[in-house]
């Protein structure tokens, strides 16, 4: 039992590395928020573009979404981080992680929001257009609000899954929770910093998970 406590809950190690993990938590939070906002934003924009049914554009969007959904994000992160400098693009590890996860989340969000747009009844478009709204106005004011409400559960689930992947930043040295915890673990030859990291993740992501439940309940259609 002592050995277990010493390995996972070594008080001295915990105290020494807590500030570094707190720093890491800040990085994780900032990255997560940015990834969720820009990933869902970009994905929604792409889904809207696809609604115009301009063949070449829709084709490109589908190719983009399918490739990024098929690739393991870790592979994309490694290729971007170690490959881009060879073509003269040098980005920091955090920026690479942000860009890759944003693009991955956007790919999933595009498919999810697109599903919402296509399952909004045709009558909604017709009602909007019959009152003189243009296509874009009908999309923005009538169809998209309904589509987004419909897909909030899969969208939040996907957003949580992708933001947790900020932990993959470890492999390219992003100083996030896991990055700092892993460094601390090597220095101290003790797993306690990793325990702390796990606790930090739960503290950070549990509100996110609970918040998604609230969102789902909040946007359940009144009376429908």
């Amino acid at each position: 039992m002592d050995r277990f406590l010493d390995t996972f809950f070594n008080a001295e190690v915990l105290a020494r590395y807590a500030p570094s993990i707190l720093d890491g938590a800040l990085v994780t939070v900032v990255l997560s928020v940015l990834i969720v906002l820009s990933g869902i934003g970009l994905g929604t924009l792409l889904a809207c573009l696809r609604a115009y049914r301009i063949r070449p554009i829709s084709f490109l969007i589908v190719i983009y979404a399918d490739i990024l959904r098929a690739l393991p994000p870790l592979v994309v992160i490694l290729v971007a981080y170690f490959g881009l400098p060879n073509v003269g693009v040098v980005l920091s590890a955090s920026v690479v992680l942000y860009l890759v996860l944003t693009l991955v989340l956007a790919a999933f969000a595009e498919e999810i929001v697109w599903a919402g747009i296509t399952s909004t009844p045709q009558g909604q478009w017709e009602a909007a257009r019959s009152t003189g709204l243009g296509f874009t106005q009908a999309l923005v004011w009538v169809v998209l609000p309904q589509a987004v409400r419909m897909v909030i559960p899969p969208l939040t689930n996907r957003a949580i899954a992708i933001t947790k992947m900020t932990a993959l930043g470890l492999v390219i040295g992003v100083p996030d929770i896991l990055g700092n915890a892993s460094t601390a673990q090597s220095f101290s030859a003790n797993a306690s910093p990793l325990t702390l990291a796990a606790i930090a993740y739960v503290i950070l992501f549990l509100p996110f998970v609970i918040g998604s439940r609230w969102l789902e309940a909040r946007f359940a259609r009144p009376g429908a």
Binding site: G123, A127, S130, G132, L133, V142, R149, R221, G223
Partner: protein, 250 residues
């Protein structure tokens, strides 16, 4: 082209053809509706009556033919369709209210986004329209909190608020429980009394007899017979009209 409003039909359809793929649905419709006239369109399912109605605001694109609203062309290239559609109100069988907006939000949307009215101005117009359909007290309700009949009346208010020149009704009571039909018909009667020009596709024979100025019977994508309701419904001259009415009364 300047024509006097007395002689210019409010809605004029000329040689309207519509085909879905190789399947002809409308085979040459000529129809003109005078100002404040209520024209009822009857016909068996598949006769093309709904398609004809939906061509009148180009929710269906005609294959050929022309449509005019107060002498202004609705069909053909170069038409500002969104502007023209504001002059043609449409009421749908399944209401098609926006479920994420309140009754007020449903009525004000086009006023604000298309006519660019301020929120206060749009809400004043919407309040008046909701009052006309007897739903002032439901303005802040969402469609899901309203009965079918109330939803359809909000939909009528949504179309009315834009002050259209003509209103199209596509089987407005077909999706309603029988006891809710009366309220919607009463509102349509009021709309007519206020001088609206109306083209109505419906199976409400009793209402047609009582309120319509003219009844049109369509079959096979053509107008088979038309005239005053008493004549078309009471003493039809065409076999197909008689057969249709017989089935209806049986």
């Amino acid at each position: 082209m300047a024509r006097s409003p007395e002689t210019t039909p409010t809605l004029e359809v000329r040689a309207l053809h519509k085909a879905f793929g190789s399947e002809p649905v409308l085979r040459g419709i000529d129809l003109s509706v005078a100002r404040s006239e209520m024209v009822f369109v009857l016909g068996p399912s598949g006769s093309g009556k709904s398609t004809m109605l939906r061509c009148c605001n180009r929710l269906e694109e005609p294959t050929s033919g022309e449509i005019f609203i107060e002498g202004d062309r609705l069909t053909g290239p170069g038409v500002n369709l969104n502007a023209m559609r504001q002059r043609v109100g449409m009421v749908f069988q399944s209401f098609n209210l926006y479920p994420h907006l309140t009754a007020m939000g449903n009525v004000t949307l086009a006023l604000r986004r298309v006519q660019k009215k301020s929120r206060a101005e749009a809400e004043a117009i919407a309040a008046e329209a909701l009052d006309k359909v007897g739903l002032s007290d439901r303005a802040r309700h969402h469609p899901g909190q309203l009965s079918g009949g109330q939803q359809q009346r909000v939909a009528i208010a949504r179309a009315l608020a834009l002050k259209p020149t003509v209103m199209l009704f596509d089987e407005p009571t077909s999706a309603l429980d029988p006891e809710l039909v009366g309220d919607v018909l009463a509102v349509m009667r009021d709309v007519k009394a206020a001088g609206m020009t109306m083209l109505v596709v419906s199976h409400e024979m009793g209402f047609a007899r009582e309120a319509a100025d003219r009844v049109i019977f369509m079959d096979g994508g053509r107008i088979v017979e038309q005239g005053p309701p008493d004549q078309v419904l009471g003493a039809p001259t065409h076999d197909r009209t008689r057969a249709f009415l017989r089935r209806f009364h049986a």
